[in-house]
């Protein structure tokens, strides 16, 4: 249920995820971050509000777009920073380094397939496992409009539908796969049109509206927990930044980028709290100050980590 408390919690988490990422971008600018980063600016409402509607023991296969889903799922900001800094404060204590290979079994964060779309079938396997073990968990798989066209989606979605698995596919449709617009490589406007063909419920929603995301997700989770089967939620979102940090974005008209930025879900949600009378500006500023302090503390803590030595390389290959 979307209580005022939940609304506040969602906004708090969205703001936190955004600030967390801004600090990460500073680390990046300073050359402290290993590898690539695909900023999640614009995707916060969808990633956060959906993850606020699940439990700690539910499973998450996240995608590469930002870290808001992992943060909202309960992962420690310190561990996340540590992963990007590649040090022993990270969830993978320096071995993974960065998005793609963050994980947190205690919060149900199962990891990510760097070959996009690998998660479609892994998540279905996790959902099958739930069914076999007869728990009431759910498995959630995030992916983009690009990864939606991998064949693994077909194979995962088919069993999810056929076996009524407790599976939720969350498609973050930002209209772009790197430089490739959806319409160039896909006939349909909405991927949710594909859900019925698998016996799944499919919906397309405004992924910038966190209240709607939360309610849609809560319904899907309820359905999954009670044996009603799988759901595909397509959230329409905007990628505010480049595909990765450093992307020249030559392929994208300036107006489109400007329009995307104007739709920033973080300030929009803030305004909504004020408009709906849930919190006033003063209270929000206080909350934000608190969040900022948490983010800064996490960043500071993560920086105290140590880079792993060469000897770490062949540790833990086998159980």
């Amino acid at each position: 249920m979307l209580t005022p408390e939940t609304k506040i919690a969602i906004y708090r988490m969205m703001y936190l995820a955004q600030q967390w990422e801004m600090q990460l971008l500073r680390f990046l600018d300073d050359g402290q971050v290993s590898g690539f980063y695909h900023a999640g600016r614009g995707h916060e409402a969808l990633e956060v509000a959906s993850m606020m509607a699940v439990r700690t023991d539910d499973y998450l296969l996240y995608d590469h777009r930002g870290c808001a889903h992992m943060i909202a799922k309960g992962m420690s900001m310190v561990e996340l920073y540590g992963d990007f800094l590649g040090n022993d404060k990270g969830s993978t204590t320096g071995l993974g380094a960065g998005i793609v290979h963050i994980a947190d079994p205690a919060h149900g964060v199962l990891g990510q397939s760097g070959t996009l779309g690998g998660g479609h079938v892994l998540a279905a396997g996790a959902a099958l496992s739930i069914k076999i073990r007869k728990t009431d968990q759910v498995a959630v798989n995030f992916f983009g409009d690009g990864a939606a066209n991998r064949g693994t989606f077909h194979e995962g979605a088919n069993v999810a539908g056929a076996w009524k698995l407790p599976m939720i596919y969350i498609l973050q449709n930002n209209g772009w796969a790197i430089s490739t617009p959806q319409a160039r490589v896909t006939a349909v406007e909405h991927f949710s049109e594909r859900a019925a063909g698998y016996g799944m419920v499919g919906v397309t929603i405004d992924g910038m509206d966190p209240w709607l995301v939360y309610e849609t997700m809560a319904e899907a989770v309820e359905r999954a927990r009670t044996g009603g089967g799988a759901t595909l939620i397509e959230g329409m979102v905007n990628r505010q930044r480049g595909h990765y940090e450093g992307d020249p974005m030559t392929y994208r008209p300036d107006e489109e980028i400007a329009a995307a930025k104007a739709l920033d879900p973080v300030p929009a949600t803030r305004q909504r709290l004020v408009d709906e009378g849930v919190l006033d500006d003063g209270a929000l500023t206080e909350l934000e100050t608190e969040v900022l302090a948490e983010v800064q503390a996490a960043a500071a803590e993560a920086q105290t980590g140590t880079l792993p030595g060469r000897e770490r390389l062949d540790q833990g290959v086998y159980a």
Binding site: G111, L122, G125
Partner: protein
């Protein structure tokens, strides 16, 4: 890795029962499913039908539809879904109908099953067994007849097991199922009917221990899977000419029992490596390279590889017969190696 030590087939005692290679595999699955309720089987037609080669016979009746699952023709789900289930508390046995189909799930095998643990900071285990019926038998053609075990050599993280007898098949499969690492388990289709001694009592065989299938002092033949039997035949042919052949069966490729290989080379100084897969890029190359690195000075003759044909395997049964090394091919190579 399993720590139970191997139980050698009883000798000079009450006769040990003889069962087929496929029955041995079936028993291993049934016993482990009985022992551990986290173990389940999935694959195409593995349910009531019992598998296209009959390997899962009766499991469905005994353990029910929740633990013996018929899947669609979706190999990326079979392997990737197996990984997902393994990450979340179960111990899947996934049967691909043919080993060749691992290419249909190439990324799931190489990139997910093998790497998931390591690339996520060793936070997970992936206790799954991928059963892979391999080899040329009955004219099944280029896409249903290969022995692709070498493809997994670079896939650190996954063990590679290849039993050549019913006894080994049962003991190794039980260890594979109990192991917390992913295991690719290659079963030669041409051996499913082969019978051998398998004790009634429970036993396991640790992964990664080579087995000397025949002791000898002149020439070593390193062989696995179905070719062990051709090597043994060739050894008899050689014995008739006074050449004493040792047949070493690594029983898999990872963990690889390098010590056993070194020992036999130091003993005989001459080696023929054989496998059904084509020579180029086959696992014989890896073994040859290890020998050339670690015991070159013990070698008294060039290393010989006697392998399957290099081309895709023809569909025609008539041509298929020509592609696999015969006991006679091996015997010739043994003779030449001994005479070098």
């Amino acid at each position: 890795m399993s720590t139970t030590s191997p139980v050698a087939p009883a000798t000079g005692q009450a006769p040990v029962r003889r069962i087929s290679y496929s029955r041995a595999i079936n028993e291993a699955m049934a016993e482990e499913m009985e022992r551990d309720e986290r173990v389940f089987v999935m694959g195409q037609d593995v349910g009531a039908f019992g598998g296209v080669f009959g390997l899962t016979r009766n499991l469905y009746k005994r353990f029910g539809a929740d633990r013996v699952i018929d899947t669609p023709i979706s190999e990326t789900f079979l392997v990737g879904g197996g990984v997902g289930a393994a990450l979340t508390g179960l111990r899947p046995i996934v049967e691909l109908q043919y080993a060749d189909f691992l290419w249909n799930a190439g990324d799931e095998v190489i990139g997910k099953m093998s790497k998931w643990r390591y690339m996520h900071g060793s936070l997970f285990t992936v206790p799954m067994v991928l059963r892979l019926p391999e080899g040329a038998a009955g004219g099944a053609g280029p896409e249903h007849s290969t022995c692709p075990e070498a493809a997994l050599l670079p896939a650190t993280g996954t063990y590679i097991v290849i039993p050549s007898t019913p006894y080994d098949a049962k003991g190794l499969l039980k260890s594979a199922i109990r192991d917390d690492n992913p295991v690719a388990f290659f079963e030669h289709k041409g051996m499913y009917g082969l019978k051998g001694e398998v004790p009634e009592e429970e036993y396991t065989i640790p992964l990664g221990q080579a087995d000397i299938k025949r002791a000898g002092s002149d020439v070593t033949v390193i062989a696995w899977g179905r070719l062990v039997h051709r090597a043994l035949e060739a050894a008899e042919l050689a014995a008739a000419e006074g050449i004493d052949v040792e047949v070493l069966d690594p029983r898999g490729l990872r963990p690889l029992d390098v010590e056993a290989i070194t020992r036999t080379i130091e003993k005989t100084g001459r080696v023929v490596i054989t496998h059904e897969a084509g020579r180029t890029g086959g696992a014989g190359a890896e073994i040859a390279a290890i020998i050339a690195e670690t015991c070159l000075t013990s070698l008294e003759a060039p290393i010989r590889r006697v392998c399957g044909i290099e081309t895709p395997i023809p569909q025609s049964l008539h041509l298929e017969q020509f592609i696999i090394p015969t006991a006679d091919d091996l015997f010739q190579a043994i003779k030449e190696t001994a005479a070098f």
